[in-house]
């Protein structure tokens, strides 16, 4: 039996903050690492920042702002580029 149609779904998640904070954490981490890489001229910081921003992008919700993602991504890329311009030596492994 197919009776009256109902209304549309409510904003499907009332509290999106409850679920999965990963993209936000990764975004923040990425920014922190890229600032460290830029200020302290540490190459490995800059590379980790790039990874963080990629992970944040992969985990992000579709409703999230792309501008935020792009800005963190650009920041991390610029950190890597600046570290290499200032010091073209290759990265040395920690061991």
């Amino acid at each position: 039996p197919l009776p009256p149609t109902r209304y549309k779904p409510p904003a499907t998640e009332t509290n999106p903050a409850l679920e999965d904070p990963t993209p936000d954490y990764m975004n923040l981490l990425g920014m922190v690492f890229s600032m460290c890489g830029l200020m302290l001229k540490l190459k490995w910081c800059a590379w980790i920042a790039v990874y963080c921003s990629f992970i944040s992008f992969a985990n992000s919700r579709s409703s999230e702002d792309t501008k935020q993602m792009m800005s963190s991504f650009m920041l991390s890329i610029s950190a890597v580029v600046m570290s290499y311009l200032q010091n073209p030596q290759p990265m040395s492994p920690p061991w």
Binding site: T5, T12, A58
Partner: protein
């Protein structure tokens, strides 16, 4: 070739000491053409020696003979460079030193000993080498990034395929039962989009509505995060499976008041801790379902025995036994308000809103390595959902059960009120104080003195009345106590 360059570099040092004055930099430049990188460092060295050597040059110039010999010495060395013969250079530098630096016995000795000591070959800095090998860490990093991107694309596509496979299998059943299948909330009218709503790269939603008894049904396909490489690696340690979560919101009149759950023991224990309604109404530990013929893996949480009896009819038991491996949890609740909210005590002044809901969580078989074909095996579970909706509508508690249920709910509400009593009192107190303050301000702001007086009198009268009331109450209580 490398050895040659190194030798040339080493010889360049004493050569430049004596040649600074003679503008030898042009020759030096010629030689540098062989390999700019290698000699880049030594440009500085030669410049430094320019500043040092003037002393020497001046003293050596004292003797013209020495100067001429110098020139000869240079020519000899030049020939050496042209010939690119290492051995000759070594032998000829010795007489050169002895003849030239007569006054400087230490230095010739030093340079002499230099020739005897093993030549320390300085490592050319890595970034000046023309090889990619020194950048192996960077190459590793870039490879890692590429791997991540590849995994993202592959994972995203797989999740997409799984979701659409699920939808294609279930489409018919849903469309026959619901008038509205698929809605993303953007249209003004309620029209079926017939498509899944993608929330994430691993979460897909579907809203179905338009059926007797229920307001609507929200289906969430919660896949594993195949698009995130870190997650993929973590899953290798700890296997997990995709989940399908179905939440049916019932109409108020279509469901009686009870709380009931059945599922795997682990899931029930977790839900009992997390869910507000299960923790409040189902205080016992999950009981084994063996009494009703369910497999051992499943357990039951219920508000009262009567509910369990009512729910566990033949068809339900059939469903549960056959698909026990796919069922994670099934929860029927009229007091559903989601997971317990972690709020500070001060904020909790009202009970959270409750809705009559049926909540189903199914595990997709395959434990992570699912293929689109596995989605077909979930179809009978959807039939179970539809059956449960109808059952929930039909099932009614008898009088005793209803009384018990009402008592339970009253008890829960009372507990809640007690907990928040203090907070509510404080809130009321602060509200009263605010009112008083507002009144006083009004009186103060009143310019007309007459009005001021009148308002003050009115306030005084009100206060007196309140005091009287309180005294009356106290008297009454005293009388009652007596």
């Amino acid at each position: 070739m490398k050895n040659l360059y190194i030798f040339i570099a080493v010889l360049f040092i004493p050569w430049s000491f004596s040649l600074a004055k003679y503008d030898e930099f042009e020759d030096g430049d010629d030689i540098m053409e062989y390999d700019d990188n290698d000699f880049a460092e030594f440009e500085d060295v030669s410049e430094d020696t320019v500043t040092e050597s003037p002393q020497r040059v001046i003293t050596t110039e004292d003797d013209e003979e020495e100067a001429t010999v110098e020139v000869e010495g240079q020519d000899e060395n030049q020939e050496d460079f042209d010939d690119a013969d290492t051995q000759e250079g070594d032998t000829e530098s010795e007489p050169y030193d002895d003849e030239e630096f007569e006054g400087y016995e230490e230095k010739p000795d030093a340079s002499h000993s230099k020739n005897k000591d093993p030549i320390t070959i300085v490592n050319v800095p890595a970034h000046l080498q023309n090889s990619w090998e020194s950048y192996y860490m960077e190459i590793l990093m870039v490879t890692g990034l590429l791997a991540y991107i590849m995994n993202y694309i592959i994972g995203k596509n797989k999740n997409n395929r799984l979701a659409h496979a699920w939808f294609n299998t279930h489409r018919e059943l849903l469309e026959s039962n619901f008038a509205l299948v698929g809605d993303d909330g953007t249209n003004k009218e309620a029209t079926s989009t017939g498509k899944l709503n993608q929330e994430n790269e691993h979460i897909y939603n579907l809203w179905c509505s338009g059926r007797v008894c229920c307001e609507g049904m929200l289906i969430q396909l919660k896949f594993l995060k195949r698009q995130d490489l870190l997650n993929v690696l973590a899953r290798m340690m700890r296997p997990a499976s995709d989940q399908v979560q179905i939440k049916v919101t019932m109409n108020d009149e279509d469901m009686d008041t009870y709380v009931f759950a059945v599922g795997t023991r682990k899931a029930l224990v977790r839900l009992q801790k997390e869910m507000q309604d299960l923790s409040e109404f189902c205080s016992d530990k999950p009981k084994s379902g063996a009494k009703y013929g369910l497999p051992d893996s499943l357990a039951i949480l219920s508000e009262m025995g009567e509910v369990t009896e009512g729910m566990m009819d033949a068809k339900m038991i059939h469903f549960l036994t056959h698909y026990a491996d796919k069922i994670d949890s099934v929860q029927f609740s009229d007091q559903f308000s989601g997971p317990k909210l972690m709020q500070e005590e001060g904020q909790l002044t009202k009970l959270p809103e409750t809705k009559k809901t049926l909540l189903f969580t199914f595990n997709v078989p395959g434990s992570g390595n699912t293929s689109p074909k596995d989605m077909e095996s979930l179809l009978p579970l959807m039939s179970m959902v539809i059956y449960s909706i109808d059952k929930a509508k039909k099932f009614r508690l008898n009088r005793e059960g209803k009384q018990k249920a009402d008592k339970n709910r009253a008890r829960v509400e009372e507990n809640f009120l007690k907990l928040t009593h203090v907070q509510r009192q404080e809130a009321a107190q602060s509200r009263r104080e605010e009112k008083k303050r507002a009144e006083k301000e009004r009186i103060m702001n009143e310019e007309d003195p007459e009005k001021q007086r009148r308002l003050e009198e009115a306030a005084l009268r009100r206060e007196q009345k309140k005091l009287e009331k309180k005294q009356m109450k106290m008297k009454q209580i005293k009388v009652k106590a007596m």
